[in-house]
């Protein structure tokens, strides 16, 4: 999360960063902006989050920054893709039930179609020797990026106090070890993490952040 959004979250949770939003937009207008966001944000979550804020709050003024940050905070508790959850919450705020459908469909369907087209196009050339050589370099970089996102996530969710930091890291390391050593343990590890979290990891501060890949 960038600094300005973090500051805005604190202010929004404290209760005052509102301004009067403009009149509700038409369904067509909503759809157009969601499609624009879904098809022009390249590189994953941070880019999409930036576009959401800049288009919906900044350019169109369909919701206030306070409302945006409240929905964003809430979306971090959703299961699955948090940005899809955020789109649903904002869509509901802007256009009710129809707004939810327009938001989620507009954000995901064009982007998903582009992704499938890229996968299909890649399938046509993946056996070329030059592409294989390219992949031999791209794969480790992608893995490095995945590890970097994981490290960012760990940094943002671990506690500031020494005992809670140790507890957080123990849970993380146990999950990683189970993932390495025990085949088919994924669901058990996830459920165990949830139970341990409810019982031992709760804190009286703002909810932990999660990083969208």
């Amino acid at each position: 999360m960038d600094r300005s959004l973090r500051e805005a979250e604190a202010e929004a949770l404290a209760g005052d960063l509102g301004r009067t939003p403009s009149a509700p937009p038409s369904t067509r207008e909503q759809l157009r902006e969601w499609v624009v966001i879904g098809t022009t944000s390249v590189g994953g979550g941070p880019s999409t989050l930036y576009m959401l804020r800049s288009v919906l709050v900044g350019r169109r003024g369909w919701l206030t920054m306070r409302e945006f940050v409240q929905d964003w905070t809430l979306s971090r508790l959703s299961i699955g893709n948090h940005l899809a959850g955020l789109a649903a919450l904002i869509g509901q705020r802007i256009g009710g039930r129809r707004g939810v459908v327009v938001a989620v469909a507009g954000l995901l369907i064009p982007a998903g179609t582009i992704t499938a087209l890229m996968a299909g196009g890649f399938g046509l050339i993946r056996d070329q020797p030059a592409i294989q050589a390219t992949l031999a370099g791209v794969a480790p970089v992608t893995i490095g990026m995945m590890l970097a996102i994981s490290a960012m996530l760990i940094r943002t969710i671990t506690g500031p106090r020494s005992w809670s930091l140790v507890l957080d890291l123990v849970v993380f390391l146990l999950a990683a070890a189970a993932g390495f050593l025990v085949t088919g343990s994924t669901i058990l590890v996830i459920i165990s993490g949830a139970v341990i979290g409810v019982l031992f990891l709760g804190r009286d501060d703002v909810p932990p952040e999660t990083v969208e890949g």
């Binding site: 949770l13 879904g38 390249v42 590189g43 999409t48 809430l74 508790l77 959703s78 299961i79 699955g80 893709n81 899809a84 649903a88 919450l89 939810v100 989620v104 995901l108 982007a111 582009i114 992704t115 499938a116 890229m118 996968a119 050589a133 390219t134 992949l135 031999a136 370099g137 794969a139 480790p140 970089v141 992608t142 893995i143 490095g144 995945m146 590890l147 970097a148 994981s150 960012m152 996530l153 969710i157 957080d168 993380f172 390391l173 999950a175 189970a178 390495f180 669901i187 996830i190 139970v195 979290g197 409810v198 031992f200 709760g202 804190r203 501060d205 703002v206 909810p207 932990p208 890949g213």
Partner: protein
């Protein structure tokens, strides 16, 4: 591949994931360990997801395409879209409880567990992508470079992938 099974696999990964890439360990269990896809294909799907538009997590659509063409991609997309909608009926309950200990403990525990699994999967994928003799030294160096550059967040992911592609062309063709 049975469409019903395919949809349930993606739905389970989507429901149990916290954040963009945390469904990957589950999908690896379902697709790679059953022989439907390879580790290399999984990495290709993640790469395509990073290069494509929209929110993170759409690598599932690329995996869906690889496993079941357009039908697989469509089922994966639906599976990505449905679970987050559950936030709507519970939002009225959750809004006043965002600061509650048990609620943020639940999210923290889930995030830590899934991140640990993603790290384990990443290392497994590196070995899977490295060929029969495992990764070469230059590929380990690229993992480190990708990690450092992505941590600094100064370069766009597309540029990082492009640098990896150039390094691959330089080093893999010499091997």
């Amino acid at each position: 591949m049975d469409p019903g099974w395919l949809f349930l696999v993606f739905l389970r990964a989507s429901v149990l994931s916290v954040g963009g890439q945390s469904g990957l360990p589950l999908l690896r269990e379902d697709f790679v360990r059953t022989g439907a896809l390879s580790d290399v294909q999984l990495i290709e799907a993640v790469t395509i997801g990073r290069l494509s538009t929209g929110p993170g997590g759409l690598y599932m659509v690329a995996i869906g395409y690889m496993a079941g063409s357009w039908l697989g991609a469509g089922l994966a997309l639906i599976a990505v879209a449905l679970p987050p909608l559950m936030i709507l009926p519970v939002s009225a309950y959750l809004r006043p409880r965002l600061m509650h200990r048990r609620v943020n403990g639940l999210v923290r525990g889930l995030a830590l567990a899934t991140t640990g699994l993603v790290v384990a999967t990443s290392v497994d994928l590196l070995w899977g992508a490295g060929g029969p003799d495992g990764p070469a030294v230059w590929q380990f160096a690229l993992v480190g470079a990708g990690f450092l550059l992505a941590s600094q967040a100064k370069l766009h992911p597309v540029i990082l992938v492009g640098l990896g592609a150039v390094a691959g062309l330089l080093f893999a063709t010499q091997g």
